[in-house]
C-alpha cells in the first residue's frame, strides 16, 4: 500500500460521518429542548396498585404491587407500606423502599405475608418520599 498524501480538506467519508454525527447531536439537543419546554413543574404524585395475581408458595403469599409517579419531579426514597387487616385488626405489615422514581416511571415489587390476604382486607399505600 502506498501512502497517499491527503490534501488538508475533508473527504466524502469524513463529510458523511460528520453529517451522521451532527444528526445524532441535533436529536439529543432537540430532545433535551423538548423535555425542557414540557417540564411539568409539579411535585411527585405517587400511587401504588395491587397487581392481579397473588401467588401462594410454601404457605407464603406473594402480593405483587406497582408504584407509579405521575407527577413532574423525581421522588427519592419512596416508602410503600402494606397492612393486612383480618377481623378488624392489623395482623401483618410490610414495608418497601424504592430509591428513585422519576416522572412517569413505575417500579414493581412484592409483599410477602404468611396469612392469606384474601381472608381480610389489604391496604397498600405510599408512606413518604423525599425530594432529591
Amino acid at each position: 500500500m502506498t501512502q497517499i498524501e491527503e490534501p488538508p480538506k475533508r473527504s466524502i467519508a469524513e463529510w458523511v460521518t460528520f453529517s451522521i454525527a451532527s444528526f445524532i447531536l441535533a436529536i439529543i439537543v432537540s430532545l433535551v429542548g423538548y423535555t425542557w419546554l414540557n417540564e411539568k413543574n409539579q411535585p411527585p404524585i405517587l400511587s401504588v396498585t395491587k397487581k392481579e395475581t397473588i401467588r401462594e408458595i410454601d404457605g407464603q403469599f406473594y402480593v405483587p404491587f406497582e408504584v407509579v409517579n405521575s407527577g413532574g419531579d423525581t421522588a427519592e426514597s419512596v416508602q410503600i407500606m402494606a397492612e393486612l387487616m383480618i377481623d378488624g385488626k392489623v395482623t401483618e405489615t410490610g414495608e418497601q423502599q424504592i430509591d428513585f422514581l422519576s416522572s412517569g416511571e413505575s417500579e414493581e415489587g412484592a409483599f410477602i405475608f404468611t396469612k392469606n390476604p384474601r381472608q381480610g382486607q389489604l391496604n397498600l399505600r405510599v408512606g413518604s418520599y423525599k425530594l432529591p
Binding site: 500500500m1 501512502q3 497517499i4 491527503e6 488538508p8 475533508r10 473527504s11 466524502i12 467519508a13 469524513e14 458523511v16 460521518t17 460528520f18 451522521i20 454525527a21 451532527s22 445524532i24 447531536l25 439529543i28 439537543v29 430532545l31 433535551v32 429542548g33 423538548y34 423535555t35 425542557w36 417540564e39 423525581t74 428513585f100 422519576s102 416522572s103 412517569g104 416511571e105 413505575s106 432529591p132
Partner: protein, 292 residues
C-alpha cells in the same frame, strides 16, 4: 486507482472513528459503571443537561485543537476542530447509550428525561476519552505498515512462550488497573442481578469486539508490532479470545478478593458477576497489551 483511493479514504475514516470510540471506552468505562452518575443523570433538569452539552463541547473542542482522535491534524483551522468536536460528542453519545442499554440501565420503560440525563452525563467522560484517544495510547503509527518495522533482532530473541507470557502479563496488568476500581463497588452486584442470559451473551460479544477493536483496528501506537508479534495465540481472533478469558479470570479473582464472591456462592452468581466485570477488565487488558 480512483476506487482504491476512495476505499482508503473510507477505511481511514472508519479507523479514525474506531480509534475515537476505543479511547472513549478506556476513559469512560469506569464512570459507566458508577451508579452515582446514573442517578445524577436521572435527576438532572433539562437546563443542566444543556449546560453539560455546552461544557462538553468547549472542553472537547479545546482538546481537539491539540490532540483529537484523528491521525491528521486540522489544528490550524478552528472550524475543523469544531467539526471533530461534534463527531467526538456523537461517538460519546452513541457508545454510552449502547453500554447503558447493555447494562440494562436504559430500558424501554425508562422515561425520556431520565434516559437523556443518563446518556448525556455518561457521554461527558466518554467524549473526553474520544478527544484524548491519540494521547491515551500514543500515536507513532502514521501510515499502514510504514515506519513501524519491528526490530527483527528482538523478535528473534523472544521465543513464542516468552511473547505469550508478555501478552498475558500485559493483559493482566491492564485488566487489573481498570477493573480493580470497579470490582469492590456495588454496581457489579446490581448489574448482575438485572442481567438475563441473552444480555450476558451480548455482553460477551461486546467485550470481544471492543478488545479486538482496541488492539487490532483502532491504529493505536503498537498495532503493527502486535500483528507481527510471535506467540502461541498470535492470531488476532485467538489472541482476542485468549485475553478475554485471562481478563475474566482476573475479574473473578478480584471479585473474590473484595469478598463480592465467596466459594459458597452458586456458580451462576460467579458467572453473572464475572461477566459484568469482564467488560471493563477486557478493555483494560487490551490497553495493557498495547502498552507493553
Amino acid at each position: 486507482m480512483a476506487t482504491k483511493r476512495q476505499k482508503d479514504v473510507w477505511m481511514s475514516e472508519i479507523n479514525d472513528i474506531i480509534r475515537g470510540a476505543c479511547g472513549g471506552f478506556l476513559f469512560g468505562i469506569p464512570l459507566l459503571y458508577t451508579m452515582e452518575v446514573w442517578w445524577i443523570g436521572s435527576l438532572a433538569k433539562p437546563q443542566l443537561m444543556m449546560m453539560a452539552i455546552a461544557f462538553m463541547f468547549i472542553v472537547v473542542y479545546l482538546l481537539n485543537q491539540t490532540e483529537g482522535f484523528r491521525k491528521r491534524r486540522y489544528s490550524w483551522l478552528a472550524l475543523q476542530a469544531a467539526m471533530d468536536t461534534v463527531e467526538a460528542i456523537a461517538i460519546g453519545l452513541a457508545c454510552s447509550t449502547f453500554v447503558l442499554l447493555l447494562l440494562r440501565e436504559l430500558t424501554l420503560e425508562t422515561s425520556l428525561k431520565e434516559s437523556l440525563g443518563k446518556i448525556i452525563f455518561e457521554s461527558v467522560p466518554f467524549a473526553l476519552g474520544v478527544a484524548l484517544a491519540n494521547q491515551l495510547l500514543g500515536d507513532s503509527r502514521n501510515s499502514n505498515g510504514k515506519g513501524q518495522k519491528p526490530d527483527s533482532t528482538t523478535s528473534n530473541k523472544k521465543d513464542e512462550l516468552n511473547a505469550t507470557f508478555a501478552d498475558v502479563g500485559g493483559t493482566l496488568i491492564g485488566a487489573t488497573i481498570i477493573a480493580f476500581n470497579i470490582a469492590p463497588t456495588d454496581e457489579i452486584t446490581m448489574l448482575a442481578a438485572a442481567a438475563s442470559p441473552p444480555w450476558e451473551l451480548a455482553m460477551i460479544a461486546t467485550s470481544l469486539l471492543i478488545s479486538y477493536g482496541i488492539v487490532f483496528q483502532a491504529g493505536f501506537s503498537d498495532q503493527q508490532k502486535r500483528r507481527e508479534q510471535k506467540g502461541i495465540f498470535q492470531r488476532p481472533s485467538s489472541e482476542t479470545i485468549m485475553s478475554y478469558l485471562v481478563s475474566l479470570l482476573a475479574s473473578a479473582f478480584m471479585l473474590w478478593f473484595f469478598q463480592k464472591l465467596t466459594f459458597s456462592d452458586p456458580w451462576t452468581m460467579w458467572l453473572d458477576r464475572t461477566l459484568m466485570l469482564g467488560l471493563p477488565a477486557t478493555i483494560g487488558g487490551a490497553a495493557g497489551r498495547l502498552a507493553i
